[in-house]
């Protein structure tokens, strides 16, 4: 046990010396803070409006109840703003007529919304034949926060594997890997010692990210179980890339390849209809995303989580069986 911790501590000290581990540990938390700021801003803006000085201040105040209003001193500047790359509508008034200015490539329904608002303002003295009440069912978790946090956790789980592979390639370059082979430490102790960091880092990340994004009372024990399972695949890939590459160039670009199945599985799970999800069953990242989704929604049961975890372990086991010879050979 002591030998295993010696290996782990050695990697931590080596990574601390290079500041890499500090970046790797802190960076996901910064991303989570940015995501948290974004989720609040995304909900706040629904339509962006640029107005010139023909629009009086009462109308500007009225429009601010619906969207983000920017004021310009001429119609030319309003047109320039509308022509910018983002979606902004212009509004100007000549006599009694309002003109809504659009670039033409915005979502078709967005311009209707601004037209509705202007019409309602102009007809606000009418005796309304209808009444509108708006209520909700008390669900405060927006889809962008629900999926964003989940994506971040699964994506970040790769970082543990990345530390392992960089350490392994460095050891190969400095010939310390061969030195380990003639020391008293066994191969298993060495692998566990190296791999521990790949499990510890994602657990710290996931708990931190979930706390920053504040999902309320979720079951952190379930989160740890899922992360331990998904970390297995990252560690395995970290080892595989680390031992099969003699140079950091090949190793880093191979690791970059891993981004495709991760992002593909997660975006597939979000955007594809459930009837197409079987296309993603091969991916352990899909099952991890599924399990974390139910935990974040507070709908997870232990049997469901364990089923997802079993599938991840099964896929990892198959990959390990296929690649174990290659890893063993690389460690020699």
């Amino acid at each position: 046990m002591k030998k295993i911790f010696t290996i782990t501590m050695r990697d931590i000290v080596s990574s601390l010396r290079d500041s890499m581990i500090i970046y790797i540990i802190i960076f996901p938390f910064i991303l989570a803070v940015i995501l948290r700021m974004m989720t609040s801003s995304v909900g706040a803006t629904t339509v962006n409006i640029a107005v010139d000085n023909s629009i009086d201040s009462t109308m500007v105040e009225y429009l601010e109840d619906f969207g983000n209003v920017e004021t310009f001193d001429s119609i030319e500047r309003v047109n320039k703003r509308v022509n910018d790359t983002d979606d902004v509508f212009g509004l100007t008034k000549k006599g009694l007529t309002y003109s809504i200015i659009q670039e033409g490539n915005e979502r078709a329904s967005s311009v209707d919304l601004l037209e509705y608002m202007v019409s309602s303002y102009e007809n606000q003295n009418l005796d309304l034949p209808i009444e509108v009440e708006v209520s909700d069912i008390g669900w405060n978790l927006s889809p962008i926060k629900q999926y964003g946090g989940n994506l971040l956790i699964v994506f970040i789980s790769v970082f543990g594997g990345m530390i392992i592979l960089i350490n392994l390639v460095e050891e190969k370059q400095e010939n310390t890997l061969s030195a380990v082979n003639v020391s008293s430490i066994t191969r298993t102790q060495y692998v566990i010692g190296k791999g521990l960091l790949g499990f510890m880092v994602p657990i710290i990340h996931s708990i931190g990210i979930l706390a920053i994004l504040n999902y309320g009372q979720i079951n952190y024990l379930m989160v740890i179980v899922v992360i331990l399972c998904i970390a297995m695949i990252s560690v395995l890939i970290g080892f595989l890339i680390g031992v099969t590459n003699d140079n950091i160039l090949g190793a880093i670009s191979s690791m970059k390849m891993l981004f495709i199945p991760i992002l593909g599985s997660i975006f597939g799970a979000i955007f594809l209809g459930s009837q197409w999800h079987y296309l993603l069953y091969w991916s352990p990242f899909y099952w991890a995303f599924n399990a974390l989704n139910s935990i974040i929604l507070k709908e997870a049961t232990w049997s469901g989580v364990l089923l997802n975890c079993s599938i991840i372990i099964l896929i990892t086991g198959i990959i390990f069986a296929l690649l174990s010879k290659k890893i063993k050979r690389g460690l020699n």
Binding site: S19, M20, Y23, I24, F27, I30, L31, M38, S41, G43, A44, T45, T46, V47, N48, F66, T85, D86, D87, V88, Y98, S99, I100, E103, G104, N105, A108, D112, E115, Y116, M117, S119, S120, E122, N123, L126, L128, P129, I130, E131, V132, E133, V134, D136, G138, N140, L141, S142, K145, I166, L249, G250, I252, S253, S254, K256, M257, G268, L272, L279
Partner: protein, 344 residues
Amino acid sequence: MKFAHNFIKDMKVSFKTFYIYIEILMALIFVAILLFVVPENFSSDINMYAHIDSSLQSNEIVEALESDNSSNIILLDSMDEIKYMLEEDRNSIGISISMVDQKILYNVILQGYESQKYRNIIEKSLIAEGIKDLPEYGSNTNIVTLASSSERLSDRLNMLPIFLLLNSAFTGLFIVATYIFMDKEEGTIRAFAVTPAKVWEYLLSKMGVMLVTGLLTGLITTLLVAGLKANYLHLIALLIATNLFGTSIGLFISSFYDSIMKAMGAILVTFMTLAFATTSYFMPSFNPIIIRILPSYPMAFAFREVFLENPDIAYIYSNVAGFTVLAALFFLWSNHRFKKTLTV
């Protein structure tokens, strides 16, 4: 001549380490996902679960609700069913319509995460829809469209600029440091120090390899996904300028560190920060200033112009010129720094 020699040597290394093959493979996987997994267009319509009181003409109301073409109306028998469906489908909204005191009451039921502004819009939209048939209603708005032939890309094609940005334009940002530190580890730089070659020639040859890789992956992907629906002249100009810019940033960051481990952390942070521009690209109405000032923001939209029938040439080439100048500045700055540190 020395530059050409260095460049050919570096290209050989990129083949020997399988780096270039990995980049091409990654581009092909991306193409396969785009063509076989991603639909041509996603349906972004949301479901609206509605219950209409039996005393009302439900057909007319459904027609009115469907008029904005942004939601699928699904009729249900009771308010309880609406609430149940809202819990099952967190992207949906509900509406219950009944007659109260000779007025039609629209009771809109949202999830709870929607902003107050969104709620206000829903309320005003329904009111506007409800009053437009009144005799005393006056409409005095008209809609002016600035661009005579504005077009929207298909959802599939709309993803291509992001790949071109993150993978082809920023390939050097991610990899160039690895190249330099690999040379350091293997002692190539010490060997280089005793040759008459200049540091800038060494750095330029690295930029050349990154440029070839970026152009190769960008053109392969575009050719296979967009075919002839792209202007390749504009694309190549933009790929060259943005790739040089990305690599010069990578060189600049690397010049502050003496090992790949140290540099990689800073590069990852830079890369992920630049990647945040993609959120505003996919949600153009979400455009905070913090995202608009990122260089990746205009780059993404400039790549999009390449696929339009009537691209904004001025916008594309102002990006090309701007990023070429920035690339030159960062390259010169990196060269200045590396002259002191490269062979240490």
